[in-house]
Subunit: 261 residues, 2 copies
């Protein structure tokens, strides 16, 4: 499935108009069915769709491990994902369905408050961070996004050890890119407790909550955090780094030393 499409466009530069071809990122619609019932339609980049669905199911609390999944069948052409879980999860999913109806209301492009931070536990964060290594990883991360470099229309997300990028995903949605990383880690059995998450997007409370649920000790954003993200990171002990660019970064929360407002 193509992730980039060519369009003939007009480019205006310094008073001159010119016709040319331009690469535009593809927006793909994936409808997820759980036991044959419509669960959600996601707008996404048509790549790593199985990882996206897996990460989403975990974030929503519909699955808790790889073993809960019997099958995720993706029909790329039709934009459909058919999910079958174990019997035990089926019953839980039904309960969640009721809750979801109440809490999410509707959400065309809106962000829904998860309230998830109430359930978050303290992270086992014993990573001694080498900030120069982090900045080196961010430099590699920036060069790695082929779709971004060609279209400027996607967010990137990576899972890193202290020394290298282990997983890398891109998507038109910053949440989707993160879900793909977590979905890949779940399906491929990659440990998260000693890894960092790098994201091109802003660090909001939801991003931090999702990472905290997975036990991620360090989050590095190329962009800004929100106050709620800083509060949650400090509460659970996640090291939160923002504006990681070039030779600079801001540490909003770290485990060694409590920072207070």
């Amino acid at each position: 499935m193509d992730v980039i499409k060519q369009f003939e466009i007009s480019k205006y530069s310094g008073g001159e108009m010119e016709q040319m071809n331009d690469s535009v990122v593809v927006e793909y619609s994936l409808t997820v069915y759980l036991f044959g019932e419509l669960l959600i339609t996601m707008l996404c980049t048509p790549k790593s769709l199985k990882y996206l669905v897996t990460g989403f199911l975990f974030s929503e609390g519909i699955i808790e491990s790889r073993d809960d999944i019997l099958e995720i069948f993706i029909c790329e052409k039709d934009g459909i994902a058919l999910v079958t879980l174990t019997k035990e999860r089926a019953q839980l999913a039904q309960k969640l369905e009721v809750k979801r109806t109440i809490t999410s209301g509707c959400a065309k492009g809106q962000t829904i408050f998860s309230g998830a931070e109430e359930k978050l536990h303290k992270i086992n964060n014993s990573i001694a961070i080498d900030f120069d290594k982090v900045l080196k990883l961010v430099g590699q991360f920036n060069k790695k996004s082929e779709i971004f470099l060609e279209t400027g229309g996607v967010h990137s997300c990576a899972l890193c050890s202290q020394d290298e990028i282990v997983l890398f995903e891109e998507d038109i949605g910053r949440h989707n890119a993160l879900e793909k990383i977590f979905g890949a880690a779940l399906l491929d059995d990659i440990h998260l407790e000693d890894k960092m998450v790098l994201t091109s997007g802003r660090a909001s409370s939801e991003i931090i909550s999702k990472a905290a649920k997975r036990g991620i000790p360090v989050i590095v954003s190329r962009s800004a955090p929100t106050d709620a993200a800083v509060d949650i990171a400090r509460a659970v002990g996640i090291t939160l780094i923002g504006f990681a660019r070039g030779q600079r970064l801001n540490v909003y929360s770290q485990q060694e030393k409590e920072l207070h407002t």
Copy 2:
């Protein structure tokens, strides 16, 4: 209500670590009740909340005009908006409630496909665009975002005539910033058919669909469009401009001349 909060952070630059205060954008949770029933909880910037709620109600098809609203009471301290509509809209809202349950599933940070483009009509787009004026407006737009300049954590949106910025809003969500603009226009009776929308965020299909529903003829993004956004803009006759920065911009769709892939 504060939109910016101060945090003591550590700044790492060129190998040196320094303690300092940093401005971080506030993430605020607003729960909207329609006739006493929970409709949605939105994460947003606590500014222009009445405009946000109004724009959202219109985008969701819950209201069609200012007259449908009897009252929007905002309790800023508690993060609550109480909406009362006319009796006629109450019945419609109930019908939409059922539809919403089916289509939105859950949506923590996910973008839900609206399917709205099926209902979109051709735009009456007779604006002759002066691209130098557009770039001048984008320059003014960039300087106008005080929260962004201080925190780097918000998106901006503006409604412009050919010569000046008429409305300007900021929010942690690019959709929210757009809803605030449209809510303000609805409540303050500002015509949209001869205006441009400027956005700092990417132009996705949902942004174009929302603008098309209001009859906006021109959309200017500082960032990238998606292929679906270009397709919808071309189909309904919206002029879609992307990557408007400095002395350059890309025209992805324009009314005078049909562009084909």
